[in-house]
């Protein structure tokens, strides 16, 4: 039977086209309804596809004509459904639908309502193309396309210079990653003459495991991973994601937490056959993932803007997913990808609800000041769901994140490519995660009390209004998605119990490298779990101590460790470093040396010099060098005629 998978992305594209062409003339109500309806249809269709699971071959393939053809290259519009793409399909359409509905409430009354839904729809189109593609090049359409949608949505409030700058930064940094991706694709074609997964991976699976850095599979794997560090915001290309928070909050939830940024994890997992045979590349993935998890978590510790906390948290959590990939335990990475989509999507939507409640305030301390008695009283649904998500991401037992993060840490410790070092790094990052998330929860939702530390901090932009607007709970359109995601963030981990989720994905990741089996440690699972839970509780306790019990403590600590505090508070000055080392020198070099120096000075100088020389070259010649077009033409015609006449009458023939 044919599933007609192409319908799913095309539904979203239709929504985009409808709002692009008609949205300006429609009321917000109609524009929003169109935007949501097409995504709802896509989700419905995806569910129907999932229901056909037992009736289709795995992988299920379909192609619809050619996209590219030249010489030996032939790239079809081809789609593939296997365990991995099914999981991604359901996450993307499901979470996507919830966020679309939420946006109806969140974006209510904002200018450019139809534009927002058109762009969300086109994002869905590209994201679904990415996960359903049956070849790398079609995947690359989605890959670049989500980058475009992200660019447009980060810069949605385009009149703000910071927003349009952030959008551009995201696109450029991603392009740097895509540079690696592209070279990787060229290598794939050089060696295997195809981009289609089902033709490529069987060839790869016949090859042995490579030793050393220069083998073709290792090079390919590393280059693909360069692409992943851009899209999934890993060291050294993570710098665009915090800035991406300039976009409306539902965008941050959908694109910069739940779906697009996980595309790198999806791509690496999809390429398991290649990575499995490139142990050195896996080591790099593991190290970058673990370092990013720790690095971003440490920056998250001191952020004051609630969305920035979540942004660094996302970078850190993506690091965990890459740790799993680096340990060749892709299933655990995809598991965390899923639970993360639930709880981080929820955290962003919750943050959006808070921001909505406080009329645009994002500074957590200003939120605290603006909610006398604690925000949790005014926005109970937001609070409860945010609490669930915080527990989930911190790894509190029985919440979804606990299962997936634990599995990753255990796999990193026991996997064939794992090590104690990276496990320890991941565990410390888990402590930080728990701390910064409960810090965010306590500061945002709990009263600071009369002895609050607020005086020490600069007032937020909205302070000083008095208290005319008390915070309020968000409308149903926003709280219902929160509740659904809350349920998923709570229970989403249970499908991983007994490694059922991993076993479901096994067929995709069984690439025929036997050395990759993990080496379980007797009783290890329990010990690792106990340490993780201990870290989560320690983080919770410290956050409680610092931000509820004795709020003067963090400031004292900050003074004692002033240097470290400044370093982390300024995000290690990485943006400044990139600016000073790359961006500004490049512009200055281009302007002074290339343009003014080479172009205007050297080349044009020489050209004009020759012209002047010719002008001075004598009375007879001067007339012709004066730029009289007609006289030039005459001379050319005369000259040509003379030569022709010469050839005809006197010229030698061959």
């Amino acid at each position: 039977m044919s599933l007609h998978l192409w319908i799913i992305p095309l539904l979203c594209f239709t929504g985009f086209a409808a709002n692009l062409l008609g949205g300006r003339r429609w009321s917000d109500r109609v524009a929003g309804a169109v935007g949501v309806a097409f995504v709802a249809a896509a989700f419905g269709y995806a569910c129907w596809v999932a229901a056909q699971w037992s009736a289709i071959p795995h992988p299920y393939l379909e192609t619809h004509g050619l996209w590219l053809q030249a010489g030996a290259l032939s790239v079809p519009f081809g789609f593939q459904l296997d365990q991995l793409s099914l999981v991604m399909l359901l996450i993307v359409t499901g979470v996507g639908l919830l966020i679309h509905i939420y946006s109806l409430g969140y974006m209510h009354g904002e200018g450019g309502f139809y534009r927002f839904f058109a762009l969300l729809n086109v994002f869905m189109f590209f994201m679904l193309t990415l996960v359903l593609a049956n070849n790398y090049l079609l995947m690359f359409i989605g890959w670049e396309g989500v980058g475009f949608a992200s660019y447009m949505l980060i810069g949605f409030y385009f009149h703000k210079d910071s927003a349009s700058r952030a959008g551009m930064k995201a696109f450029i940094v991603n392009r740097i990653g895509d540079f690696g991706f592209l070279i990787g694709l060229f290598l794939i074609f050089t060696y295997f003459h195809t981009f289609t997964f089902t033709q490529l991976f069987p060839q790869v699976e016949k090859l042995g495991v490579e030793a050393g850095w220069t083998g073709p599979l290792t090079l390919i794997a590393l280059l693909l991973f360069v692409g992943a560090t851009g899209k999934s915001a890993q060291i050294p290309l993570y710098v665009w994601l915090p800035d991406a928070m300039e976009g409306p909050t539902p965008v941050s939830a959908l694109i910069h937490a739940a779906t697009m940024v996980t595309a790198g994890v999806y791509m690496v997992s999809r390429s398991a056959a290649i990575f499995d045979r490139a142990p050195d590349a896996l080591s790099v993935v593991l190290a970058i993932g673990a370092l990013t998890a720790l690095w971003a978590a440490s920056i998250g510790l001191l952020q004051r803007d609630i969305k920035k906390v979540l942004a660094y948290s996302t970078i850190s959590q993506l690091g965990y997913m890459f740790m799993a990939c680096g340990a060749a335990m892709y299933g655990a990475g995809v598991f965390h990808l899923m639970t993360h989509a639930f709880f981080k999507g929820l955290l962003f939507l919750g943050a959006g609800s808070v921001i909505h409640a406080l009329h645009g305030e994002q500074d957590m301390w200003a939120i605290r000041r603006g909610s006398p008695g604690g925000l949790r009283k005014y926005a109970p649904v937001t609070f409860i769901t945010f609490l669930i998500a915080t527990c989930a991401i911190s790894g509190i037992p029985f919440f979804s994140g606990y299962y997936s993060k634990d599995l990753i840490l255990y796999d990193v410790l026991t996997g064939a490519h794992g090590s104690v070092l990276w496990w320890a790094v991941g565990t410390v990052a888990a402590l930080m995660t728990s701390f910064y998330m409960f810090r965010a929860l306590f500061v945002t939702f709990f009263d600071g009390g009369s002895h609050a530390d607020t005086a020490a901090h600069a007032p937020g932009p909205h302070a000083g209004h008095g208290e005319p607007h008390l915070p309020h709970e968000s409308p149903k359109l926003m709280t219902v998605p929160l509740m659904i995601l809350g349920f998923l963030a709570l229970t989403g981990g249970y499908i991983g119990i007994g490694d059922r989720f991993g076993h479901f994905l096994d067929p995709v990741f069984a690439t025929g490298v036997p050395a990759l089996a993990s080496h379980p440690i007797a009783g290890g699972e329990l010990t690792v779990s106990a340490i993780s839970v201990g870290m989560a509780l320690l983080g919770l306790f410290t956050a409680w101590l610092f931000y509820i019990k004795s709020p003067a403590l963090p400031e004292k600590l900050g003074r004692s460790f002033h240097g470290l505090y400044t370093l982390i508070f300024n995000k290690y000055w990485i943006d400044e470093l990139y600016g000073a080392a790359i961006t500004r020198p490049l512009a200055a070099f281009s302007r002074t040396v290339l343009w003014r120096g080479v172009d205007v000075g050297l080349i044009d100088g020489a050209v004009n010099g020759v012209a002047t020389l010719a002008q001075d070259a004598g009375e007879g010649l001067r007339r012709q060098a004066s730029g009289n077009i007609r006289s030039y033409a005459t001379w050319v015609v005369l000259g040509a005629t003379a030569i022709l006449v010469y050839f005809y009458f006197g010229g030698a023939r061959v």
């Binding site: 053809q69 385009f158 060696y191 077009i629 023939r653 061959v654």
Partner: protein, 514 residues
Amino acid sequence: MGFFNATVVSWMIFLPLAGIPFLLFAKSDRAARWIALAATLVAFLVSLHLPFHFDNAQGGFQFLQQHAWIPAFHIHYLVGVDGLSLWLSVLTTFLSVLGVAVSWKAITKNVTAFFVMLLLLETGMLGVFCSVDLFLFYVFWEITLVPMAFLIGIWGHERRLYAAVKFFLYTMAGSVLMLGSILWLYNLSGTFNFIHIKAALASGALALSPATQLWLFLGFFIAFAIKVPLFPFHTWLPDAHVEAPTAGSVLLAGVLLKMGPYGMLRFNLELFPQAARVCAPWIVALGLIGIIYGALVAFVQPNMKKLVAYSSVSHMGFIIVGVFTFSLIGTQGAIYQMLNHGISTGGLFILVGMLYERRHTFELSEYGGIATVMPIYAAFFVWIVLSSVGLPLLNGFVGEFLIMLGTFTAAVAHAHLYAILAALGVILGALYLLHWTRLTIWGELSNAKNKLLADLDGRELAVLASIALLTLVMGLASPYFLNKTQATTAAAVAAYQPPPVAPALSASLHGARP
């Protein structure tokens, strides 16, 4: 239909010219505009006959038509199209229609004369692509020069005379060298017929010493390199573009620049393969410099028309790299990129022109926040910029990707390095184009002069919509276009294919641990 097939190319070439007598009797500017539009539209419709009746399997010229012209010198009127010239002809007729449409309100002085020049230019450009006789080719080549110089020199902006003369002298310098090569070749072969010369060279009936081949090659090459323009012969381009009226820029960037790589493929590669191989590393190096240099210089331009002009230097560099690495995929990509660049960069110049008509300045600092007052314009702006940036599903990606993939897998030395350097241009392309976008349409609408700008009218909407639609169609359905060029391309690069060797795969993969 048989008769029409035999003469269709001539109809296409001379229909614009046939509009000129009507123009001379036009009673009003209004009438002149409509006559010009009708002439270009009819030529466009006639040109569409070509792809529909083109035999994809055949690599050589089709729709050939031959008449003796100057028998004393064996000069013939010989025209036809092959895979290489097919789409370039259609591109020319399409952009000429747009050229008339964008001049509708922008040109107010000497309207009749303006459209006379435009139609003469169209005939010249079509003649260049369709000539199969070298002398005829040269005549058409020179014909394009004159109306373009007048378009810049009469209807241009402040420094129009300087720009027109610079354009004319630069191109003329190259043309003279090419004329020398053509006449020398005639002297050696006794014919101007391209097909005969090529056959004679291939069969060995006409044998050229390496030195002769090199000089002939260079004579053609420099003329084409100036036209492309290849670094460092490019400095006429920014001046010409800045001063030219919008229609002039569109046809200059869209079509005239294409005459460069067209000529290289047609003459340099097909006639002088050894010389091409010898010179290729230098040429590719210049192309790569152009890609990166053009992008960086575009990035720092304060004048948006110069920015787009330098972007052309960068984009055309890709085409040169694709042509001179001699791979089938890369050459196909280069041909596609010629079409893409014509449409996308033509579109960018039209976008610039629409702002100029409203504000009479190209300075970036005068703009910002235009999306607030011109949202529809802004949507097209983003769309066409993305096509130029090379976003997959739009046309630009197909060309760039094929060029880079073809280069990477080409059987020439340093192929990987070439492709990697070219790929840097993809990053930089996004940099300067999005930078321009940000400064022009995003941001706050702070300049009071911009607060009342009108959004697109129906005519402007139609122009931009046709471009946007084409970028999408060409991004989605590239096989339709490329299948028509493949036979010609395959024949052209056949001379450059190395003898088959064991695939690289086995060699390097067997080194892997089993």
